[in-house]
């Protein structure tokens, strides 16, 4: 707040001093200061880097002084996520939201990205604060039963966001994935809406055609934990979702269906009874019981309340990653060996998708002692835990894990849905050339992550009979985020003008080589149901239009062509 006051007074002084200048400049505000647009480095994500660069060039056409700042991902996180306010606050950045199965329900994006309650530390890092929108985001959670009503709300939310242009969406990437069809039967590959072929259903359903029964894949990013209570990133999530079962799973068309649970029964909008499948065992042979299911939520909720020097109370969760997904649970009641009842604080439409289908079932006999020990420590949470041999009940079980090198899993024979492959191996391979080399040489038979130029991949697949390229539109999206807390991005006109200088089709054609679909909302076209809305506003690529928009809003240009704020 103080910053704003300071900024305003500085502006005032500036305006006053400008007032002393000759009349011709009197109607102008101060020049729009240098804008820093951030992205990751070219080495890490060439596509994101080049897109940012292109947009920065175009923004300059508006008379803006723009600087492109490319930093490594970890540093970018620091500069965006942890520097939301203050003098060093970011202004505009390239950002991406990746598709994950649980994101098949629009709730997570609808609520977390824009609700004002998660402005300071949560996903609403852009600082969007709109009471009208907050009301919608809350309302869609309550409409559990009436899907149609919920759709209306979701559509309205999309309209508001599109109008306000707080995020300039431009593409949903088409994630290219390559499978060696000599090793695997391509018909057994399952495409999950918004995710692609690299999904749980493919992992358990893919059929080997010959002797090779190990699926070998790789990741370019970190593979740094193997922990059911930590969300460490995309690759570790792939591993945990296979090693630990979940009560429900998002099916290939994006709907949560019972999995480890035989049935899910809603008694009312606050009470739900979960009935477990019979005969499930943990990888160590212990049976899976309702107590384990209950403990899974207990563990996610575990934590201590601390009081700081000023007397403020705060809650420190032992599993901070999962705590938000369990927070709505008010009570857990074990009915019998297979039945457990959850009582919620508030009705939630997303409870199945983002809680029951999200939390990994963990064995109480392994985790209770660990959590209890952690509760006695101030300086450690579950992130610091790495089991020697992780025990889950999922269709794959642990064989070997070498931090940031590889994970090797094998099929769990006692699982009721035993995978058709015998082993699943993921290598860490940050080097794209090496990745290409391996998929061609057959060292790898399933390429599921490709941050490089899809065109090159297509060429290689075209020249290699063994390889097939799959691609699917992602739930995830790529966009430019604006920090709407501060000038100039606090002005919707300015944001809209910037949106007009993003050459969406050009980016798709030239940078993505066609491997992307145009995006205009946080709800992907892949989620067809939630896109049954009226047309959202369009922002065509039009630099002149953008200038006109700015002019209409009172912006002006000085003799050097530099953009100035509206005067007065």
């Amino acid at each position: 707040m103080t910053r704003k006051i300071l900024g305003l007074s500085a502006l005032l002084i500036l305006l006053l001093s400008i007032g002393m200048l000759p009349a011709s400049t009197q109607s102008m505000g101060g020049a729009v200061p240098t804008i820093i647009v951030r992205s990751v480095t070219q080495a890490e994500r060439p596509i994101e880097y080049e897109t940012t660069r292109l947009v920065v060039e175009n923004m300059r056409e508006l008379g803006l002084d723009v600087e492109h700042r490319a930093v490594p991902w970890a540093q970018l996180i620091d500069e965006i996520w942890y520097t939301r306010t203050g003098d060093d606050a970011w202004e505009m950045t390239y950002w991406r939201m990746v598709g994950r199965p649980e994101r098949s329900d629009p709730d997570e994006f609808t609520y977390n990205l824009f609700h004002s309650s998660v402005r300071d530390g949560g996903y609403n890092f852009i600082g969007y604060n709109n009471p009208d929108y907050d009301a919608l985001a809350e309302a869609q959670r309550v409409e559990v039963a009436d899907k149609e009503a919920r759709l209306d709300i979701i559509c309205e939310a999309q309209q508001i966001i599109r109008n306000d242009m707080v995020n300039a969406y431009f593409v949903h990437p088409l994630t290219p994935q390559v499978i060696n069809t000599q090793v695997f039967n391509p018909d057994s590959v399952v495409t999950q809406a918004g995710i692609g072929v690299h999904n749980f259903w493919t992992w358990i359903g893919i059929e080997p055609t010959g002797d090779e029964t190990t699926l070998t894949t790789s990741t370019t990013s970190f593979l740094n934990s193997f922990n059911p209570l930590e969300i460490a990133g995309d690759a570790p999530s792939r591993v945990t979702e296979m090693t630990w079962d979940r009560l429900m799973r998002i099916n290939p068309i994006g709907v949560a269906k019972p999995w480890a649970a035989e049935t899910i029964t809603w008694e009312d909008s606050l009470n739900v009874v979960v009935t477990l499948r019979e005969g499930m065992t943990w990888h160590d042979g212990e049976p899976v019981t309702s107590e384990d299911a209950a403990y899974t939520f207990e563990a996610a909720l575990a934590g201590t309340t601390q009081t700081d020097e000023d007397g403020n109370e705060s809650f420190r969760a032992e599993a901070p990653d999962y705590y938000p997904f369990a927070r709505n649970v008010a009570n857990i009641e074990i009915i019998d060996d297979l039945n457990v009842r959850f009582t919620l604080h508030t009705p939630s439409a997303a409870f199945e998708t983002s809680s029951l289908a999200k939390l990994n079932l963990i064995p109480e006999h392994v985790w209770r002692p660990i959590i209890e020990d952690l509760l006695t420590k101030d300086d450690a949470d579950v992130d610091s835990i790495q089991e020697d041999i992780p025990i889950g009940s999922g269709p794959f079980k642990y064989v070997a894990f070498d931090v940031n090198e590889f994970v090797l899993l094998e099929a769990f024979d006692d699982h009721w849905a035993r995978p058709k492959i015998d082993a699943w191996l993921m290598n860490v391979l940050p080097n794209q050339e090496a990745t290409l080399g391996q998929i061609q040489a057959g060292e790898m038979n399933f390429l599921w992550e490709w941050p490089g130029d899809p065109g090159v991949l297509q060429d290689i697949v075209d020249s290699n009979e063994q390889l097939d390229l799959f691609s699917a539109i992602s739930i995830g999206f790529q966009y430019f985020a604006f920090n709407v807390r501060y000038e100039p991005f606090d002005d919707v006109n300015f944001r809209q003008a910037v949106a007009h200088v993003i050459p969406q089709q050009f980016i798709i054609d030239n940078i993505y080589n066609g491997f992307a679909a145009p995006a205009d909302s946080f709800v992907s076209a892949a989620l067809e149901y939630w896109r049954q809305c009226d047309d959202l506003p369009t922002y065509d690529f039009n630099i002149e239009g953008a200038r006109q928009l700015l002019e209409d809003a009172g912006y002006s240009w000085d003799d050097d062509g530099r953009l100035h704020y509206p005067g007065g």
Binding site: Q42, V71, E433, L436, V456, N510
Partner: protein, 326 residues
């Protein structure tokens, strides 16, 4: 060539004499001259430097295109992944709506590789020469102070050199680059901070030798001040050594900049050969078999670095005549 002061005087009012004054600078010049006269490879190295310096200075005139802006065809699309015109299939390019005039083709987003190569010489020489100056100047000053004054100054400076010797060079630059914004100056700063260690040690020991030589004592006996002794008597003798380490520093700086760029710690708005290779590698030039993209920057690095080595070797052979080939 260097203009040399002449001494002119009347001798006992009878005859006028006139002769070359002779100076340390003159001798230095002659040493340099000897290096390049004696060693044809050193001369070649000098030519290479001169060549790339010209290229760097006149880059905007030589480079046909801006190195960073993707080129666009008639439809406004990027002219991507184009092979050099001498490799192109006739007619293919015209069909796409542009004329292929690219000596070395274009990158995967349509930048002119040849222009990048031309502009890349700027970064290389900038890094090379600034690092050379930093290394030579710091090394010389430290070596002179430590060698001449000895005592605690010597102890302090040489222990500092030991510390510099204990710090791994490339990791150091990487860490520096991570903490400060990516820039080619990181390399220069890191070299200046660390690489004076070699030159200062050698220069120090040379100073120790020269300091004990009779002509220095003679100057002292004549009443010369310490500064006079350091700068008039000792410094000129060790300057060729500074040149030697300076030229080697050019080579190391260019190589190091390339490595650091390759690891992705460079400023992407400054085209350097190392950056080009990084770009090529990350843009899958190997898989594209775009050797016209990979080979030229590597060759340029090799050439300039070798030029540094050649000149350095020339100096070595003059400074340490035992290495001379017979």
């Amino acid at each position: 060539m260097q203009q040399e002061a002449m001494v002119r005087g009347e001798l006992r009012g009878k005859k006028t004499v006139q002769f070359r004054q002779g100076s340390a600078l003159r001798q230095l010049w002659e040493t340099n001259l000897e290096v390049f006269q004696r060693d044809k490879l050193a001369l070649l190295g000098l030519f290479i430097f001169a060549f790339f310096t010209l290229v760097a200075v006149f880059a905007p005139l030589i480079a046909p295109n801006d190195p960073l802006t993707p080129l666009k065809d008639a439809n406004g699309d990027w002219i991507k992944d184009v092979v050099p015109y001498w490799m192109a299939v006739p007619g293919e390019d015209e069909a796409e709506g542009y004329v292929n005039t690219f000596h070395l083709g274009t990158t995967n987003i349509g930048r002119d590789i040849f222009s990048q190569l031309i502009y890349g010489s700027r970064a290389a020489l900038l890094v090379g020469f600034s690092a050379a100056i930093a290394v030579a100047v710091i090394g010389t000053v430290v070596g002179l102070l430590a060698g001449y004054y000895g005592g605690w100054i010597d102890t302090l400076l040489m222990r500092a050199a030991d510390v510099a010797f204990g710090i791994p060079f490339i990791p150091f630059i990487i860490v520096i680059s991570a903490f400060f914004d990516p820039s080619i100056w990181n390399v220069v700063v890191a070299m200046a901070v660390l690489l004076w260690r070699d030159s200062s040690r050698v220069i120090r020991s040379q100073v120790l030798v020269i300091k004990e030589q009779a002509f220095v004592s003679a100057a002292k006996v004549s009443g010369a001040s310490e500064l006079r002794i350091i700068f008039v008597y000792i410094a000129p003798s060790i300057l060729p050594l500074s040149f030697l380490y300076g030229t080697l520093a050019i080579a190391w700086a260019i190589l190091t900049e390339a490595s650091v760029s390759f690891l992705g710690f460079s400023d992407p708005d400054t085209i350097s050969w190392g950056y080009m290779l990084q770009d090529a590698f990350n843009s899958l030039a190997l898989s594209r078999e775009a050797f016209y993209w990979i080979v030229p920057p590597g060759l340029c690095i090799m050439l300039t670095v070798m030029a540094g080595f050649f000149i350095g070797r020339g100096y070595e052979e003059v400074l340490f005549p035992r290495l001379r080939r017979m």
